[in-house]
């Protein structure tokens, strides 16, 4: 049977983290009606020419949503993809609005916490080197 290569990722720890907030997160993910109202409140979405990948709903579905869907069984590349979503496309300004009351910043912050624990987070030194 095909076994996913999760080398270098502590999937047990990810699973433990996911379980700790499972009820709320699963409910939030299920409650999203894809109404796109959150998009209007995201200044990055507006500033990026309404790029759908900057929609808050896109960001939480493609970060914490992926982690729950795969039950924490992710490889390093997947975590890096999530890192790009939760750090590069979100500044965690906490201004996003959801008519259903989904706490989107909490979901993004949770995805960041899980990435951090696995040693996947932005390297600001590298970023500044490239910028310079």
């Amino acid at each position: 049977m095909f076994k996913k290569n999760t080398a270098g990722v502590d999937t047990d720890l990810i699973k433990k983290r996911l379980d700790s907030r499972k009820a709320k997160m699963k409910l939030s993910l299920a409650a999203c009606a894809h109404c796109t109202l959150c998009a209007e409140s995201c200044f990055l979405f507006n500033a990026r020419d309404n790029d759908p990948t900057y929609m808050p709903s896109y960001k939480f579905i493609n970060s914490i949503g992926v982690l729950y869907k795969k039950k924490g069984m992710v490889d390093r590349a997947a975590l890096q993809d999530i890192r790009d979503v939760v750090w590069d496309r979100c500044v965690l300004c906490t201004r996003c609005y959801c008519p259903f009351g989904i706490d989107i910043p909490e979901m993004i912050a949770f995805a960041r916490t899980i990435c951090r624990e696995q040693g996947v987070f932005p390297d600001f030194e590298k970023e500044q080197k490239h910028a310079g």
């Binding site: 965690l92 910043p105 916490t113 951090r116 987070f121 910028a131």
Partner: protein, 223 residues
């Protein structure tokens, strides 16, 4: 963004010397960007502290955690369970973050591991320059985008003073006179009229703790 610099190791070690279990907490905001108090710096500090205490024969349990922003209570509260198991907290956030952390855990000593220096800009890798003192009365509109509060040794609103000397400040020949630069900038933009306008004295609103409420939220907070 806020710029900070890590305190000397000896000062940090001294502050936490009497505590057995220490939780070093990084911040994913400004201090991460200025390479002073992010997750990587938390690891570095803990490694250095471990070595220091090992050399002095002291046993300490050093934990680490990084919250996304220590200036937001919702984001701090996720570490409630973790903080429970420690005797004190070593915060690598700016002064605002340290204070909110101390407010969240009033029974636990919270020590700062960085000195908050200024609001500044990125000049180069690891090099930052102060640009704003958050005086609460921005005058950049008539000073050509050069802040006299930050740049002028006297913080003059109407300058230059008599101490200007060939483009340099009287406090040091290495310090450029802000008001000469303002003059040159305005001259280049053909806006020298601005420098002739007398500006009233600063109200120094930063002498008291300030609260910022944006106009559209005033109804929510002020009855």
């Amino acid at each position: 963004m806020v710029k900070a610099k890590r305190k000397p190791l000896e000062e940090i070690a001294e502050a936490i010397s009497t505590y057995g279990k220490v939780l070093t907490v990084g911040c994913g905001g400004c201090v991460s960007v200025c390479l002073a108090g992010g997750q990587r710096e938390v690891y570095e500090l803990n490694a250095e502290l471990e070595l220091t205490f090992k050399e002095s024969g002291t046993s300490k349990q050093l934990g680490n955690y990084t919250v996304e922003r220590q200036c937001n209570m919702d984001l701090i509260q996720e570490m409630d369970d973790i903080a429970e198991g420690y005797d004190c907290i070593l915060s690598m956030a700016c002064g605002a973050g340290v204070q909110l952390m101390a407010e969240r855990y009033p029974d636990k000593p919270v020590f700062p591991a960085v000195n908050t220096v200024c609001i500044g800009v990125d000049r180069n890798l690891g090099m930052y320059e102060e640009k704003c003192r958050a005086c609460g009365e921005c005058v950049l509109a008539y000073t050509g985008g050069i802040c006299p509060v930050t740049r002028c040794a006297k913080g003059l609103f109407n300058g230059p003073c008599g101490g200007t000397n060939n483009g340099m400040c009287e406090v040091s020949q290495d310090v450029p006179c802000a008001w000469v630069e303002i003059y040159e900038r305005l001259k280049g933009q053909n806006r020298l009229d601005d420098i002739l306008k007398l500006q009233s004295v600063m109200q120094w609103q930063n002498q008291l703790q300030r609260t910022v409420v944006q106009p559209k939220y005033e109804k929510r907070y002020y009855k």
